[in-house]
C-alpha cells in the first residue's frame, strides 16, 4: 500500500510531468514515482506516433506534383471534369489527409502511452522548434518534421537537436530559408545580368533573414542576449545555400536538405563577436554549434522548461538547477530532464499550470481509458479552443501561460466540449472510480462530493473534467 505522500507524488508525476492518468496508472506509479519518470528518459529519443510514416521528402514531392497539376488545370478549360473526378481536387484532398493522419496518430500515442513524461518532453521540443501548418506546404510536413527532426533527438545533445531542426525541409520552408541567396553569390550575380531574370524563373536571388532571426530570438540565445541586427544579417548570410532539392534534381536530393554552393554568400561572417571563416555549409553549422553552447541559451531554455513543467512564474531555484545541469553537461538534454525530475521545486503539491486545449483533451481520453478514433474528434474542438492542429500562430509556438488559455469564451467552450464528450462516453462508466483514477490524491473533497451527487453519469464526468484540479496539472 502506498503512503499518502507516495500517492500525491504519483498524481504529480502522472499529471504534471506526464499527460494525465489512465485507469490504474496512479496505483502502479505510486510504488516509485521518481523512478517511473527517470526510466522514461532514454538515449533513443521519444516514441514515434507512426511506425512507417510518409517522409517529408515524399510529401514535398507530392506537393510539387500537385502544384504542377493545379497550374495545368488552370490553363485548361474549366468545367469539363466533374468535381469528384478532378485530379487536382483529389490531390488537394490527399494533402489535407496526410496531416490529419499524422495528427491523429500523435494524439492516439499521447492518449495511450505508458511513458507520458517522455511524450510531454517531446511535445515541448516540437513546440520550441515550431513548424506551423499555416502555409499549405508546411501543413504537409509538420508531422514528418516532428518524427524526423525532433523526436529522435529530444534526449540527446541540444546542439544536435538544433542542427537537425534547422536543416529539416519543414523548417527551411516555414521560415523562408530555402529561397534565400547571398547577394554576392554566383547565382545572384548570374541572375542580375539580364534584368529581372530572377523574377521570370521564380527565384528571389537575395537574402531572407527570417530563419536567422528566429534561431537567435526563439531557438537559442533569446532576445535578452543582446544580439544586434548585424548579427541577424550575418547569420542569414551564413545560412545561404541551405536549401531543398527540387524536382529537376537527382531523386535522392528531391525534397531533402541540400547545400547549394552557388547561392552561398562568400566570405567570413561575424556573429555575436566571433568570426567564422567561409566553410560552405559548415559555416552556418559552426555558428549553430556556438549558439547552442552559449550561456544565454542555457538560461533561456532552463527558464522555458521550468515554466512549461511547473508554473507560469517558475521558482528561480529550479531555473538555476536546470541551467547548471545544462551547462555542466554541455547541453545534454537527458541530464537536464533528470535534473528536472530530481528538483524538489518541481514537486510542489498545488497544481499551477492550466492545461492547454490539447492537454485537456488528451487527459480526458486518458481518464476514461480511451483514445480518439478520428480527426473529427480532435480538429473541431481544438480549433474552437484556439489550438488548431499543427497550426501555432507564429514561430514562437503555442503559448504557455494560463491567462492566454483561460479566456471566458474558452472556458465556456471547454464546458461545451466536456458535455458532448461525456454524453458520448459516460455510458456505463463508474464515474467515482474514473475520478479517483484520474486525480488520485489530488481530487478535492468538494469535487468528489459534487461528482457523487450528480444526477447522471454524463453530469458527473463533466464535473470531473471541468473541475479546477482536472483543468490544471
Amino acid at each position: 500500500m502506498a503512503s499518502p505522500s507516495d500517492s500525491l507524488h504519483a498524481a504529480i508525476a502522472v499529471t504534471r510531468f506526464g499527460l494525465g492518468a489512465r485507469p490504474g496508472e496512479l496505483a502502479a506509479v505510486a510504488r516509485d514515482p521518481r523512478g517511473w519518470l527517470l526510466d522514461q528518459i532514454r538515449a533513443g529519443g521519444a516514441d514515434q506516433p507512426q511506425a512507417a510514416p510518409e517522409s517529408a521528402a515524399k510529401r514535398l514531392q507530392d506537393f510539387r506534383v500537385y502544384r504542377m497539376d493545379r497550374r495545368e488545370a488552370r490553363r485548361a478549360e474549366a468545367g469539363e471534369t466533374p468535381p469528384d473526378r478532378d485530379p487536382v481536387r483529389i490531390a488537394a484532398r490527399m494533402i489535407r489527409e496526410g496531416p490529419a493522419v499524422d495528427f491523429l496518430a500523435r494524439a492516439r500515442l499521447a492518449a495511450t502511452t505508458a511513458a507520458g513524461f517522455r511524450e510531454r518532453w517531446a511535445l515541448f521540443w516540437a513546440n520550441h522548434f515550431t513548424v506551423s501548418g499555416v502555409k499549405l506546404v508546411t501543413a504537409t510536413v509538420a508531422g514528418p518534421f516532428e518524427q524526423e527532426a525532433i523526436r529522435p533527438h529530444v534526449f540527446g545533445r541540444f546542439a544536435d537537436l538544433l542542427t537537425s531542426a534547422t536543416m529539416h525541409p519543414g523548417m527551411l520552408l516555414y521560415l523562408d530559408q530555402a529561397q534565400s541567396a547571398g547577394p554576392d553569390s554566383q547565382a545572384a550575380q548570374v541572375l542580375k545580368r539580364p534584368p529581372r531574370a530572377a523574377e521570370r524563373i521564380g527565384l528571389g536571388g537575395g537574402l531572407n533573414e527570417n530563419l536567422a532571426r528566429e534561431i537567435l530570438e526563439l531557438h537559442t540565445v533569446g532576445v535578452a542576449a543582446g544580439y544586434s541586427q548585424a548579427d541577424v544579417t550575418e547569420l542569414a548570410r551564413a545560412l545561404t545555400g541551405w536549401s531543398i532539392g527540387g524536382p529537376r534534381e537527382a531523386e535522392d536530393r528531391q525534397g531533402r536538405f541540400v547545400f547549394r554552393p552557388a547561392t552561398h554568400q562568400p566570405g567570413a561572417r561575424t556573429v555575436m563577436g566571433r568570426i567564422y571563416a567561409d566553410d560552405g555549409a559548415l559555416q552556418a553549422g559552426a555558428i549553430l554549434k556556438d549558439l547552442a553552447a552559449h550561456p544565454a541559451t542555457a538560461r533561456h531554455l532552463a527558464h522555458k522548461i521550468a515554466r512549461h513543467f511547473t508554473a507560469d512564474d517558475p521558482s528561480p531555484a529550479l531555473v538555476g538547477r536546470l541551467e547548471a545541469a545544462w551547462t555542466g553537461s554541455g547541453g545534454d538534454l537527458a541530464v537536464v530532464a533528470r535534473a528536472l525530475v530530481e528538483a524538489p521545486e518541481a514537486w510542489q503539491p498545488a497544481p499551477a499550470k492550466f492545461k492547454t486545449p490539447y492537454e485537456f483533451l488528451v487527459s480526458s481520453w486518458r481518464a476514461i481509458g480511451g483514445q480518439p478514433a478520428a480527426i473529427e474528434h480532435l480538429a473541431p474542438p481544438l480549433t474552437a479552443l484556439g489550438q488548431r492542429p499543427f497550426s501555432p500562430p507564429s514561430p514562437k509556438g503555442w503559448d504557455d501561460l494560463a491567462p492566454t488559455w483561460a479566456a471566458p469564451d474558452a472556458v465556456v467552450k471547454r464546458l461545451a466540449w466536456a458535455q458532448q464528450f461525456s454524453a458520448a462516453v459516460a455510458g456505463e462508466l463508474d464515474t467515482d472510480a474514473v475520478a479517483s483514477g484520474a486525480l488520485g490524491a489530488r481530487l478535492s473533497p468538494a469535487v468528489r462530493t459534487a461528482i457523487a451527487r450528480a444526477e447522471s453519469r454524463e453530469e458527473a464526468l463533466s464535473i470531473l473534467l471541468m473541475s479546477p484540479e482536472f483543468q490544471r496539472r
Binding site: 481536387r89 499555416v134 521560415l175 523562408d176 529561397q179 534565400s180 541567396a181 547577394p183 545572384a188 523574377e199 528571389g204 536571388g205 537575395g206 537574402l207 531572407n208 533573414e209 527570417n210 532571426r213 530570438e217 526563439l218 532576445v223 541586427q229 541577424v232 492550466f354 474552437a384 479552443l385 484556439g386 489550438q387 500562430p393 507564429s394 514562437k396 503559448d399 494560463a402 491567462p403 492566454t404 488559455w405 483561460a406 479566456a407 471566458p408 469564451d409 474558452a410 472556458v411 465556456v412 467552450k413 464546458l415 461545451a416 458535455q419 458532448q420 468538494a446 459534487a450 450528480a454 447522471s456 454524463e458 453530469e459 463533466s462 464535473i463 471541468m466 473541475s467 479546477p468 483543468q471
Partner: protein
C-alpha cells in the same frame, strides 16, 4: 461624471444579471451617454507592411525601393498627393473619402528590437520597455474610465495581452457553445468559488454567451458554398467570415450592457517571401481586414457615429524588397484611425520620406509618431480618460509622449 453615475452603472449591470430589461428601469440620458462612446482596437499581428497597406506612391523613392512589390500609382486608391490605400481596402477608402478614415503612416511603438514577440508585448502592455507590465493598456484604460470601470471584449479563442489585467473582461469567438445540462454552470460556479482564474472567467463567459445570441441576430451566414473553389474561393470565404465577425462584434457593442472597448486580432502579416502587390498574399490579408471593418461599420448603424476604430501593428517592414519577393522586419509602419466620431483631416504625424538618408538605420520607415501618443489622443478625447491616468497608469512613464489631439 459623478458618483451617482457610477452607482447607476452598477445598477444596470445588476439589472442585466437578473434578467431585467433596462427599458423598464428607465432613467436619465446621462447613463446612456456614459456607455455610448466605443473604441475598437484591431491588432494586425505579424508586422503589417505599411508601405503596401498605405503606399506612399507619390514618394519619389517608393517605386525604386519596392521593385515588383510596389503598388502601382494607377492601381492604388488615392488619398492625397503622396499617399494612397492598397486596392484591397475599398471600404476603408470609401470611408476616407467621407473623412471617416485617416492614416498615420510612420508610427511605431517604443520598441526597436524587430522581434514580433517583444514588439507585440510592448504594444499591448503599453509599457516603455519589454515585459514592463503583465497587464494590457486597454485593461488599465477600462479601469481609468470616467464614471467607473468600462467593459471590454476580446474576440478570439485565446485572451490577448492588450485586454488582460485586473478588470475582468469578456471574450467571444465564433462557434456555438451548445446546449447542455442547465445545472452544470451553477455546480461549477460553486466549485470555482475560490478560484481566481476559472471563477470570473466562467461567470463572464456565460454572460457573454447570452449576449452573443442577440448580437448575431441579422448577421448573414457566410455563403461558403457559393464562392467557388481554389485560393480565390477561400479568400472570398474568408471575407464572408470577416464581415460576419465585424457585424457580430457590432451586435455586442450596440447592446445596452455591451462593451466600451473591443480588441480584435488579425494575424498573417509576416510576409517574408512572395508578398505580392495588387494581388497576392498580402492583398488577401488586406481584403480580410477591409471586410472586417466593413462588417463593423455596417453592423454598428447609428452607433458608428460614436465609434473610433484603431488598426495598429507591432512594427513595419523593410523599405526595400528583400531577396525573396517579400520584406523583412522593420520599424515604422502605418496605423489606421476610422469611425464616425473622427474629425476629417490628412495624415496623422509627419512623413519622413523614403530618401536614403531618411530611412531608419538605412533600411526602415523612420517612425515619427509614437503609437502610444495616438492611443492617448483617442483615449483622452474620445473615451474621456484623463491625462494624468494616461501618463501614469495606462502608459507607465509616458509623460513625455503627448496625446495626438484633434482626432475627434
Amino acid at each position: 461624471m459623478t458618483r451617482t453615475d457610477l452607482n447607476r452603472r452598477r445598477l444596470l449591470a445588476a439589472g442585466g444579471a437578473l434578467g431585467l430589461s433596462v427599458g423598464f428601469m428607465g432613467g436619465p440620458a446621462l447613463a446612456r451617454d456614459r456607455g455610448r462612446r466605443k473604441l475598437v482596437v484591431v491588432l494586425a499581428r505579424g508586422a503589417m507592411d505599411g508601405l503596401s497597406a498605405t503606399p506612399p506612391v507619390g514618394d519619389p523613392d517608393y517605386a525604386g525601393l519596392r521593385g515588383r512589390i510596389a503598388i502601382p500609382a494607377d492601381r492604388a486608391l488615392k488619398l492625397d498627393d503622396t499617399f494612397a490605400l492598397h486596392p484591397a481596402l475599398a471600404h476603408v477608402h470609401a470611408l476616407a473619402l467621407r473623412g471617416q478614415a485617416r492614416i498615420a503612416p510612420a508610427t511605431a511603438s517604443p520598441d526597436r528590437a524587430r522581434s514580433h514577440f517583444e514588439a507585440q508585448d510592448v504594444l499591448e502592455s503599453g509599457a516603455a520597455v519589454v515585459y514592463g507590465t503583465a497587464s494590457g493598456f486597454l485593461n488599465r484604460a477600462l479601469a481609468a474610465m470616467p464614471g467607473g470601470r468600462g467593459d471590454g471584449l476580446s474576440v478570439g479563442a485565446t485572451a490577448p495581452l492588450i485586454l488582460r489585467g485586473p478588470v475582468q473582461t469578456a471574450s467571444w469567438s465564433p462557434g456555438a457553445a451548445g446546449e447542455g445540462s442547465p445545472r452544470l454552470p451553477a455546480i461549477l460556479a460553486d466549485l470555482y468559488a475560490g478560484d481566481p482564474l476559472l471563477g470570473p472567467a466562467l461567470a463572464r463567459g456565460l454572460q457573454t454567451e447570452a449576449m452573443a445570441e442577440a448580437a448575431m441576430q441579422g448577421v448573414a451566414a457566410p455563403l461558403a458554398g457559393a464562392t467557388g473553389g481554389g485560393v480565390q474561393g477561400l479568400v472570398r470565404q474568408g471575407q464572408g467570415v470577416a464581415r460576419g465577425i465585424g457585424q457580430t462584434v457590432a451586435g455586442f457593442m450596440r447592446q445596452t450592457a455591451g462593451p466600451d472597448i473591443v480588441s480584435i486580432s488579425v494575424d498573417g502579416w509576416d510576409t517574408h517571401a512572395n508578398q505580392g502587390a495588387v494581388e497576392g498574399q498580402l492583398a488577401n490579408r488586406l481584403l480580410y481586414l477591409d471586410a472586417l471593418l466593413a462588417g463593423l461599420h455596417e453592423g454598428l448603424g447609428d452607433a458608428w457615429a460614436d465609434t473610433v476604430v484603431v488598426v495598429a501593428t507591432e512594427f513595419g517592414r523593410t523599405a526595400r524588397i528583400n531577396g525573396t519577393g517579400g520584406t523583412d522586419h522593420g520599424t515604422g509602419s502605418t496605423a489606421f484611425v476610422l469611425g464616425g466620431a473622427l474629425k476629417p483631416g490628412g495624415i496623422i504625424g509627419d512623413w519622413p520620406t523614403l530618401r536614403p538618408a531618411a530611412l531608419f538605420e538605412g533600411r526602415d520607415t523612420r517612425p515619427t509618431l509614437d503609437v502610444r501618443g495616438l492611443f492617448k489622443g483617442v483615449l483622452r478625447d474620445h473615451m474621456g480618460v484623463d491625462r494624468a491616468a494616461l501618463d501614469r497608469d495606462v502608459f507607465p512613464d509616458s509623460a513625455g509622449v503627448a496625446p495626438v489631439g484633434g482626432l475627434v
